[in-house]
Subunit: 824 residues, 2 copies
Amino acid sequence: METYVIYMPLVLALVGLIYMTLKKSWVMKQEAGDGTMKEIADHIYKGALAFLKAEYRLLTIFVVIVSVLLAIVSFIVPTTHWLIVVAFIFGAVFSAYAGNIGMKIATKTNVRTTQAARTSLPKALKISFGGGTVMGLGVAGLAVLGLTAFFIFFYWYFMGSSWEAADYDGVLKTPTELMTVVLETLAGFSLGAESIALFARVGGGIYTKAADVGADLVGKVEAGIPEDDPRNPATIADNVGDNVGDVAGMGADLFGSYVATVLAAMVLGNYVIRDVTSFNVEEVGSTSFGFMDNFGGIGPVLLPIAIAGVGIIISIIGTMLVKIKSNSAKESQVMGALNVGNWTSIVLVAIACYGLCMWMLPEYMEMKFFGEDGSGYLKVSSLNVFFASLVGLVVGAVISSVTEFYTGLGKKPTLKIVQQSSTGAGTNIIAGLATGMISTFPSVILFAGAIWASYAFAGFYGVALAASAMMATTAMQLAIDAFGPIADNAGGIAEMSEQDPIVRERTDILDSVGNTTAATGKGFAIASAALTSLALFAAYVTFTGIDGINIFKAPVLAMLFVGGMVPVVFSALAMNAVGKAAMQMVQEVRRQFKDIPGIMEGTGKPEYDKCVDISTKASLKEMMLPGLLTIGFPLLIAFLPMAFGMNNLDIAEMLGGYMAGVTVSGVLWAIFQNNAGGAWDNAKKSFEAGVEINGKMTYKGSDAHKAAVTGDTVGDPFKDTSGPSMNILIKLTCLIGLVVAPILGGHAAHNLTASTPQSIIEVSTANAEQMIEVDVKKNIDETTGTVTALVTTKSKINGAIVTKTQEFFGSEQEVEEKIEALNI
Amino acid sequence: METYVIYMPLVLALVGLIYMTLKKSWVMKQEAGDGTMKEIADHIYKGALAFLKAEYRLLTIFVVIVSVLLAIVSFIVPTTHWLIVVAFIFGAVFSAYAGNIGMKIATKTNVRTTQAARTSLPKALKISFGGGTVMGLGVAGLAVLGLTAFFIFFYWYFMGSSWEAADYDGVLKTPTELMTVVLETLAGFSLGAESIALFARVGGGIYTKAADVGADLVGKVEAGIPEDDPRNPATIADNVGDNVGDVAGMGADLFGSYVATVLAAMVLGNYVIRDVTSFNVEEVGSTSFGFMDNFGGIGPVLLPIAIAGVGIIISIIGTMLVKIKSNSAKESQVMGALNVGNWTSIVLVAIACYGLCMWMLPEYMEMKFFGEDGSGYLKVSSLNVFFASLVGLVVGAVISSVTEFYTGLGKKPTLKIVQQSSTGAGTNIIAGLATGMISTFPSVILFAGAIWASYAFAGFYGVALAASAMMATTAMQLAIDAFGPIADNAGGIAEMSEQDPIVRERTDILDSVGNTTAATGKGFAIASAALTSLALFAAYVTFTGIDGINIFKAPVLAMLFVGGMVPVVFSALAMNAVGKAAMQMVQEVRRQFKDIPGIMEGTGKPEYDKCVDISTKASLKEMMLPGLLTIGFPLLIAFLPMAFGMNNLDIAEMLGGYMAGVTVSGVLWAIFQNNAGGAWDNAKKSFEAGVEINGKMTYKGSDAHKAAVTGDTVGDPFKDTSGPSMNILIKLTCLIGLVVAPILGGHAAHNLTASTPQSIIEVSTANAEQMIEVDVKKNIDETTGTVTALVTTKSKINGAIVTKTQEFFGSEQEVEEKIEALNI
């Protein structure tokens, strides 16, 4: 029995965290520069801490409120256990802590990168990427550690760490039912993590753009001083913003995706076990239940965390391969180094998936394809499951190429925007919008193909495993992602501390590569969010026990519409939030320019912290409304009709329609906004090196360039605020659905009962020595005419008094017959 | 027996057309001005004819190709009758002819309005609105005439004008099955009409903006001459464009909606009859089938056309009420006059709906709510059906207010965009985008509420009747809509022919009201398209015989994604098309300015027709790709998997998912683009009268105004090309689905058989005097295990030889038992 496998991901996560600590101390030991450099870096570090502190204060309030609500729900609803509150708090704390590690290391690494860039480009890359690695491993390590630890604990707490039927709250439950309780409680951890992501990604997105726009509008445009000029009071806030948005935001986003994906795959794995059990009972005639594997019978449930655990080690290997040798390396070589690391880890994950699928799954599993008509089982081989995971890896890789094509410097779409800039801002905007819109074509075809293929290979378990495999390299992806803003900051520090131009040149090479990885990273993040949401959606349907989501029911169709609208309104709110926050920043900067004597001459000191403060407060305040929209709508849909006495299953279907609407529309708007924003940004950057328009070389300062700058202004909130926020919106929506599912799925038990081997019930009835009390409750569904009966018996079994509730479901006559057959 | 009712809509349509002819000759008798005025009007008229001619040439090719394809399909697929080809051709011709009437009268009325404005504002309104009335009645009259005539013909042809079971192609079919054939064939008329709308709306949208942008870019910006200056070679094309886009495009759009809505309501009415029949057989024990009403048993089928017919007369009454008295009336009085007419007709339609529902429907109908679980019937009263129709009227009215709020001059959203213009084009664009995005909130909540409420009142039949009631005032809506571009043109002619300023002032009052009605008209058009699509969607599901559309099946979910993406890509293609066509226009105008001597001095004559030609050709060429996308995608989804041997019902569900995706996303993008565009337009216009920004009055020519002009440039293709095109996209997609449905729904017959009164079969078996031949074909569905058996018998009944095919459906044993029970 290889049941030790359950501890493997825990160990691997710890290995990752240890490696992270070593890497961190190595980075911290590097020279941190001197004088102004140090001072500026210190300002950024303190600004970042100020944001974190304010964020944590708000988070604490939020976590307390949600915890209390969850606790109340868990006391009212018997299917929800109070431990979900504990899991929720830990999920939030772990995610926040991961963000903390990331922010701190990023704001410590930046100045060290600048310092290294004074002498060596390879060393600058090594340090900046080292900082990214710390961030990546912190996120992945904590995610796997928390998830696995809670799973092991709940598996012990609810199931005694064994796959056997047991009494739970006085009711005999099958192992599948018990595992459902385990995973439902574990969903609290995921909900906690994703809540933090809401604050970090949406709040962070508003922060970074408010600071950026505010700094530019007054600094560059009104006062005519260059970017990153230390005389600009908002410049520190701007640099802090890069870390808040791109480091903490992205980290929390992927932390959430990572946890949610693995969770959803585990939920679906549990139903794979149920299906195989039912198959054995119904078709083979077996009276035993469960799964005869070497992993305590829970191989399909363990597989996703095993992949996640192994992914951490693979990511460490991947990060080790990222290095360059030549001090005169160009962008392409730096990009090449990152690619070597990235591709190696993807290939290694593919190999690991193959090994793990072959090892942990039986050769064939009989699956009922969810939502399919009829009662047929399909034989799915472990090789098919592996193929499904490959689909995820391919999507992760291809989506990055698609993103790069639509947003990359020198590619056709960007060049087209450049051309259209010559006829003014209007045509530039139209071209950018059109580029973002058209880019949804290959992306959606890719997603649709991935859903189809991974489902064809292994049902929704396949879809969830595709997501898991894709997310296995999260640590590596984050290392690449976080490296970008570090290099950006390093350049800013070089500028502000007036270093030798060669220093800025070197950091610019890193920064330029960082811009590309930022765009592809956003592609990865949205792909992960999309697949995660689909997996959560599938888990939701199975949790509630509904047969499917039929959009031919008008209320479901209406909710599909409403769901489709929410991402659009959310995006608008996020964009407006940037505008409002930026206006406050503009006023503060104007005030300082006027009130502080000698500020323009460099003799007066700008009050950086006031700007940091404004950005912090405004961003956290402005994220309230979109946050409320995200959380409030699904709750409203779930509980408002409930208050009007609507059938729970109908509500579950409506909520499912809403979730689908949010996901489909959210993915579209994420791709549209991210790619339009990225393309505008690079169209503007194209003018720095000069571009040919109608046969004439055009540079910065030209009218076409000015038009491109306008496009970039529109693109900034698109790509850094509203676009990436979509990820959180769709995941959080589906997670809230998952947490609400047990409340709606009062009928979920039927679904399980239907596949509960009859033998279990029979065996326990046979053991009854003396019946003490029998209670029969019947309930008739008026629309369908089906009867649900709850038969509770108190009996003496082997000397002990056991209370047992059995459920029967069917037409009135059928139920009567079943109860009679009990002989009680 | 009040069976004459079937002819009533025909008569009412003819009354409408006669009134139209009278109105037309009255308009034509008005003074057409003199000299330059006449000359310019002549250019516009000829330009419009040139566009129509080119469009018809292309249309003919298109209609021939589609007819041949349809003919081939109808020969291969037994469920499709070749008469669908005839219906298709007539649908196309009728819609094209309605467009022709509209374009001709609009381009004749414009100059007459200018002439009238020289002396009297009331007369100018009377003439311009008279032109609009001709257009509105032409569209509505021809739509109802064509639809009713074909219905009467098919009802006679396939059913002998009576609701009885009959042999069809050697198969005994129930009346419901026969009526399905009637309506499937009638769908050809709707498909023809909507195809024309694709050309008129999308092609027209590209035309109008290409001409507009081209004229502005070179004329206003480069040459510095005012709008509508006769020296600008593109100015005629620009004025033609207003008619092509706003008159012909809108007319074809609403013609299509009108026909499709009534058709869908008829399809669903047929299933209401089926449900009542099944109820009578199953629950009451009746052996008769059909519907005991006074309308030949087809009251629910006739009701939608009756409402449409009465709507024509009501619209005539409404148009008569539109008048002002004072020559010094302001915008508000003109708007008030339109409102009186509009609201009166809405109230009258409500009253008419009440009367018709009470008269034509039985007091109670037992409906099976489609897609609902269980087999319960719900008693729906005729009053409920009336309430459902009220829902549609409310939606039509409220959506206009919503649109007006988000796009209206002096309203909060527009003022906000004006404020944001002060910080540049970037912030103006962001504010406009955000306004469009946020406006989806109330609109979608309204739609979702309407779907829910009308469904709750009377199932999907209620949804379709809501749409029908809303569309009943189509003639009135179109009169209001078409009046706008006529007034706009009248102003253009006044400017070009250098009239007294008072003339332009008077036409400006009309034009300004026209701008408001243009925005609200777009709201009405999208609301009608949305409800029409939903009704078509419901009709599609019942046609194919699937139980519903379960998005928890991965292929269906994948298609929901793909469907959601199509409107986004379509919009991008349409926007790019405008850009390309405008560039050609720019080059032509530049060439003329250079090559034609004395053109700027007014001594050389610009070659207007060349510009008209470019706009015409470019628009028709550029609409190919989006058109192909619209038509190609659903066909690909239907036939590609079929080629791979996929189950037809699974394909039907996938296609349904696609249709839902297109509809939800299309409605969102339509609202977003229309309202953003409208808001930008009016933000720009606000500067004409002057606006207060940060306490300072700001006018035309200011930097803020320039920023607003940029916003308007982006908004133009949004509101006039891509936004309105969404209507066609979603309707055409659902219509193609409906036409494809019989091909997919090989199983549709089961659905019907299930509710075929057993008595019919029994009676006919009892009559058999001698059995000549028996042929039994069985088919087992491998996934569900259900058996379909076709029992074909040749027997002598009453001396004649009758071939009869009966279908049985169920488990193998059930089917065997049923066949045995036949005693053959």
